[in-house]
């Protein structure tokens, strides 16, 4: 049941004589206005005003009530939301109230110079006189209303239902409204306000609670839970459980009944286009294209190689030709011949020839290794290769000394190389030996061996991970490391933070006292510490990591089920929930417990932090507050309990209320709970019937009365409901 508004402009305003009262039910959620004596209000709308800006013209306009949301797109509503004239259930913003009256009278068809009809308007129980007098002022001064009467909505509803035989002259009106809940005892057909009580909880709180719970439960769909939508959901799905605890237990156990009671709201969801598997031909075609491209590249490389070989061949032939020519040339002409060719000496030509031959060989792809082989062989005969080393310096010429130094250098490097080779070889042997040992162990007891390996792997993995964490997180292990470093302190590692500290102290450490920086040599060390290169203090390739890779490869060999754990970085990305494709279920809003949890706050206001008695207890409070008590009166009261007001529409309300009141009443006392014929409109109908009575005019007051009698009189003003 969504909001029902009736805002068509009435055309028969002028047909009513000026003595016909206008009846207004000014509720904090709905405003209803119509003519006395009629059965239904003429105009009904939500008691709110919006003042958005018209997008096209930029002017601020007033929009009263709720309109077609499609038309709201022409207005910029971001600056101001809907506003109400009410604070709790008391009118305090008379500017907004005025907009509402403007709209209401306009839609009722008013077109004269003033509103020349008596007005009966509802107010809350014990309305503060300030609000009353402001309302009177507004109606008298701005609209020219001749006379006013104030009444209480719940009382009108009770009287209306009494006339229709739903309740008796003595009874209790329980009125859970929009912002407050009242219990009013009636004795001899008149409300006794001394026995009345109010709890500041109502339909507004139920909707708000539901809205909050749903947006906490489904944070991704928060924007979907607009006030209007949640209000609709509340009216459609919420009910009052006969016993909250047992009902909740049904859901907790996941009983079949609970499943039936769960409601689901499917939000609009479009399945993502299913990824089609490429067909065979497609795969083949793609492979062919790839192959073709590869072939083209290979061809290109081959062509390039060929051209280079040709080029080198030509160069080689040229050089050889040059050499043969050079041999033919006379000794003395050699210099002039060489200068023509551009080479300086024969040796140079020869070395160039050598180079070209080598690169030609390389280009043709012939093995190049023989050079190294030769090296190795010459190594064996080191002594022959370096003949000068063992000769003392004093026996040598200066040239020979130079040569000796060179030989010494060459020898040491080649020896070093040899030693490295030796070491590698030894390591290989060691590894082999360990593998064999491992193998022996494995064959002895494969289970134990595997377990041991797993344990070792785990230990190492954790150790490395811990170290990484320390490095990235700067030692702040805050429990959930996988969420990554958040906040400034955690992003830097220890060294970086130290650097930042140094920089900041250096930047701000001036002014105080004498500047002694540089007096000592150690001061300059600071710059070294600050320099950027300082911060990666990696201790080279990590032994642990090497060991880890060894173990994991070994594990993969022996244990086919083993899967090495991913690195921390990759772990993070796989944990992101967004990577999962969204399904239909992600767009479902499920209400189970919420359906009866939200309206339950009417019975337990302290669930939302309002420390007041709930609906059932209020009845007891109300009876206790009555000045004239007696068993017969109390029995008559509980025998005619009327529920009215919008929040009494929840299914299961009367049963629960009856059970609750039975608990606080003496055993055997008669209890009858009835729901008003129409909990929402009965207040207006009762008021309309009341205003149509001939004696109504005795209950109104005019502007003159108001001005003569003053505020104190207005404070005590009270309608007589039985005329």
């Amino acid at each position: 049941m969504p909001f029902i508004s009736r805002i068509q402009r009435q055309s028969d305003y002028n047909l009513f004589s000026s003595s016909t009262p206008i009846v207004i039910d000014n509720g904090s959620s709905y405003f209803r206005i119509g003519w006395a004596g009629e059965t239904d209000p003429r105009v009904v709308f939500r008691n709110i005003v919006q003042r958005p800006r018209h997008k096209a013209t930029g002017e601020t306009v007033s929009i009263v009530g709720d309109h077609d949301p499609a038309l709201m797109k022409y207005f910029d509503c971001t600056r101001s939301g809907p506003r109400s004239a009410f604070d709790s259930n008391v009118v305090y913003q008379f500017e907004i109230m005025e907009y509402i009256f403007d709209f209401a009278f306009d839609r009722l068809g008013a077109n004269g110079s003033e509103i020349d009809h008596p007005v009966l308007i509802t107010e809350c129980v014990c309305n503060p006189v300030q609000s009353r007098s402001k309302m009177a002022e507004l109606l008298f001064e701005t609209y020219g209303v001749p006379s006013i009467a104030y009444g209480v909505d719940a009382a009108f509803s009770y009287k209306y239902n009494e006339q229709h035989g739903v309740c008796d002259r003595d009874g209790l009106a329980i009125c859970p409204g929009f912002t407050a809940t009242h219990v009013i005892p009636f004795i001899d057909g008149e409300p006794v306000y001394r026995g009345c009580c109010r709890t500041n909880i109502g339909g507004y709180h139920v909707t708000d609670y539901l809205k909050q719970l749903l947006s906490l439960k489904y944070p991704h769909h928060m924007a979907r839970f607009t006030w209007e939508k949640v209000e609709d959901l509340k009216m459609e799905h919420c009910y009052i459980a006969p016993d909250y605890v047992s009902e909740a237990q049904l859901f907790q156990k996941g009983a079949k009944e609970a499943e039936d009671k769960t409601r689901c709201w499917q939000l609009p969801w479009i399945p993502p286009p299913a990824e089609e598997r490429p067909s065979e031909e497609e795969i083949a075609r793609k492979a062919a294209i790839k192959e073709k491209q590869g072939q083209r590249l290979r061809d290109m490389a081959e062509a390039k190689r060929q051209s280079r070989i040709n080029e080198l061949d030509n160069e080689l032939r040229g050089l050889e030709f040059l050499l043969t020519q050079l041999e033919k040339v006379e000794e003395c002409d050699e210099a002039s011949f060489l200068s023509k060719t551009g080479y300086i000496s024969k040796q140079e030509i020869e070395s160039a020839l050598m180079k070209v031959t080598q690169s030609l060989r390389k280009a043709k792809g012939e093995p190049k290794g023989d050079q190294a082989e030769i090296d190795e062989k010459t190594d064996l005969s080191a002594n022959e290769k370096f003949p000068l080393i063992n000769v003392p310096d004093n026996l040598l010429t200066p040239d020979q000394v130079k040569e000796k130094k060179r030989q010494l250098f060459l020898k040491t490097t080649s020896e070093g190389r040899q030693r490295a080779r030796q070491k590698r070889h030894e390591e290989e042997l060691e590894r082999e030996r360990r593998n064999q040992l491992d193998e022996v162990k494995r064959l002895e007891n494969p289970e134990l061996y595997r377990e041991g390996l797993h344990a070792k792997y785990k230990e190492l993995f954790e150790k490395i991970e811990q170290r990484k964490r320390l490095k990235t997180n700067g030692g702040h292990t805050n429990g959930n490391n996988l969420s990554g470093g958040v906040g400034r302190g955690e992003r830097l590692n220890a060294a970086q933070r130290e650097r930042m500290r140094l920089l900041t102290t250096a930047a701000f450490d001036r002014g105080k006292g004498e500047d002694t920086f540089g007096a000592r040599d150690e001061d300059w060390q600071l710059y070294k510490l600050m320099s950027k290169d300082n911060d990666d203090d990696d201790d080279g390739p990590d032994e642990d990591e090497a060991e880890l890779t060894r173990i994991s490869s070994r594990l993969q060999e022996v244990d086919p089920t083993f899967v090495p754990k991913p690195e921390i970085g990759t772990l993070q990305s796989t944990e992101m929930p967004r990577l999962r494709p969204l399904t239909k279920e992600d767009f479902q809003v499920v209400f189970g417990v919420e359906r009866f949890r939200c309206p339950e706050i009417l019975f337990h206001p302290n669930w939302i932090g309002i420390d007041q008695a709930g609906l059932d207890e209020m009845a007891g409070v109300s009876i206790r507050r009555l000045p004239s008590r007696g068993q017969s009166v109390e029995e008559r009261l509980t025998n005619s309990i009327l529920m009215t007001g919008g929040s009494s529409l929840f299914p299961g309300m009367s049963e629960r209320l009856e059970a609750g009141i039975r608990m606080i009443r003496p055993c055997g006392s008669p209890i009858r709970v009835a729901r008003a014929m129409d909990p929402i409109l009965d207040a207006w109908r009762g008021a309309a019937a009341y205003a149509a009575a001939p004696l109504f005019s005795t209950q109104t007051f005019s502007r003159m009365d108001y001005e003569e009698k003053g505020e104190d009189w207005l404070r005590r003003y009270q309608l007589r409901y039985t005329l």
């Binding site: 096209a56 013209t57 306009v61 007033s62 929009i63 009263v64 077609d68 038309l71 022409y74 604070d87 008391v90 305090y92 500017e95 005025e98 907009y99 403007d102 306009d106 077109n111 004269g112 110079s113 003033e114 509103i115 809350c124 129980v125 014990c126 309305n127 503060p128 006189v129 300030q130 701005t142 609209y143 020219g144 306000y193 001394r194 009345c196 009580c197 109010r198 709890t199 909050q212 719970l213 906490l216 605890v245 909740a248 237990q249 859901f251 907790q252 417990v593 949890r597 337990h604 206001p605 302290n606 669930w607 939302i608 932090g609 420390d611 007041q612 008695a613 709930g614 207890e617 409070v621």
Partner: protein, 124 residues
């Protein structure tokens, strides 16, 4: 204005014949609006209810007293009956599953759950 907006008569006209004082006369443009309306708390304070006999009903003394029944404690997350209470987050919870959930909740959500029953930490 767009034709459909005019058709629906959404926008309240600025001049209405039945009014003695028009809105623009009462609240001229450029003046701060809405500031001078007393809130309910201020209204009640100005009413000086303490000067009147206590058995005379007024807006304040008709309020219901606190409940005499023991408060039923429900799980803040699920709404089930809550036998437990988490001293770290102050949330009430029904079982271990919910406990796991509340321990993984970000603080913002914890505070919002607490705010629902007016128990959140309010920083001033």
């Amino acid at each position: 204005m767009e034709p459909e907006v005019i058709q629906a008569e959404m926008v309240l006209p600025t001049h209405l014949s039945f009014k003695r004082i028009q809105m623009y006369e009462k609240y001229p443009k450029g003046q701060s609006r809405g500031r001078h309306w007393k809130h309910l708390k201020q209204i009640i304070q100005a009413e000086n209810y303490q000067n009147y006999p206590p058995d005379e009903p007024n807006y304040v003394n008709i309020e219901s007293p606190p409940s005499m029944h023991p408060c039923k404690r429900i799980c803040d997350i699920t709404g089930y009956e809550a036998p437990y209470y988490d001293p770290r987050t102050n949330l009430r919870y029904a079982n271990t599953d919910v406990f796991k959930q509340i321990r993984s909740l970000p603080n913002e959500y914890v505070q919002r759950y607490l705010a629902l029953r007016n128990a959140a930490v309010v920083l001033k």
